[in-house]
Amino acid sequence: MNANPFNICPSCAYLNTCVLTKSKEKVWSCSEYNEVECKEDIQKEVMTEKEVELV
């Protein structure tokens, strides 16, 4: 079993301002982790109907 680079800090909203730790390279669990919000629902691209050309 190897040590691993798993670290949740880089994706936390508090990354740059957090005062809890200076060691932001090996945090695998944190109660203050600000869960990343999922992106706003993307407006589904409205497919414009192609006009049928009668030949």
Partner: protein
Amino acid sequence: MKNTKSEISDRESNSNTKEMTLTKELKVPAKPKNARGMVDNVLEQFNSASDQIGLHPNIRKILSITNNEVIVNFPVKMDNGDVEIFQGYRVQHNNALGPYKGGLRYHPTVDIDAARALAMWMTWKTSLAGLPYGGGKGGIQLDPSKYSKDELERITRRFTFALGDNIGPEHDIPAPDVNTNAQTMAWMADTYMSTKAPAARSMNQHVVTGKPIGSGGLEGRDRATGYGVFLTIKFWIEENNETLEGKTFIVQGFGNVGYWAAYFLEKEGAKMIGVQDAYGSIKNGNGIKVEDLFNYTKANNGSLVGYPESEAMEKEDFFALDCDICIPAALGNQITEGNAHLIKANLIAEGANGPINVEGEKILLEKGVTIIPDILCNSGGVITSYFEWLQNRNGELWNMEEVIERLDKKLKESYTKVSDYAKLEGIDMRKAAYCIAIQRIEKAYVQRGIFP
């Protein structure tokens, strides 16, 4: 799918453990050379406890590696019509005591190595808590911020489908973790149940725990870990013929664990004199009202900075505050060789996972500080997961009082075992906890043997 040890663990039968011989290829993990992280600590604790109890070398081999490692690559249609391929993992460390149990996390840095150590950690935790579970962990390598809610739902459902019968209510029971929540579990349960025959669907609801209360979730799950932290502190205080009345405490992290631990401690007469969250640190020797601070943070974008009944303090001085009880309830590696000597509390309750590193712990133990180890202190969460599983399995609906009452009983048993063992063997509580956890698994192997 890669099976590393399933042939050994899944074919256990009667045989003499002393006689058993395992494949020579199974290696004890090499010690990592990089800086110590939580993962390294887990392995070191395992080896140290194994030495203490004289764990049979063959069982040490078995527990040093994982039973099964499942990797699935699966396609999901995105909102714009494109198809993306995702990679998901599920590591099943050991199931000698029962179905694998552990969280699923969605994160860009999730990989099989990360899941391995965390799965192993779950094996010790469920064993110590006296639960009929083993340990597992998993997740999907993705950045949730890049996906819409609809996409995350489809990713979760397709991942559940891809895992298929590698999970199951009597085989492997996932739970929420980083970037996954009750909603994620509800999607998983619904998908898993939908793959079963109509008449069998409702008997599969306990395939995951941490579900919303309306979908099979358990009352009181939100406060369970914090309440457990409070209980272990209370047990220690009572054991030392003292009371919580007038005791002072500091808490790092004011999330679910820190807040609820503080809430129950205050109800018993203890006084919170310092709090630290991601935004800053505050103190007040006369006490900070837990509920008032909680309401303040709610109205202040989650931050405790500027709370009127307190003064701000330097973050480096936080753990040096003069108090009776210190509760690191946020993250790992907070108490180290750099600040352990500053700590004035005579009890540290590890609400977070791995908040004290090995060097810091050594200093604290030499100073005579008692540490209630994370594996015991914050086990209220996994114990209530077990209650949720039981509730679903038995077709019951438990109320808050029942949950709290049963949690009290279960944690008291765990605490007493650890405390008694530590005194009997003259060792610290962490080592005692690991010894008990590993011995329970060892006993199962000795009784059942290794098939064939």
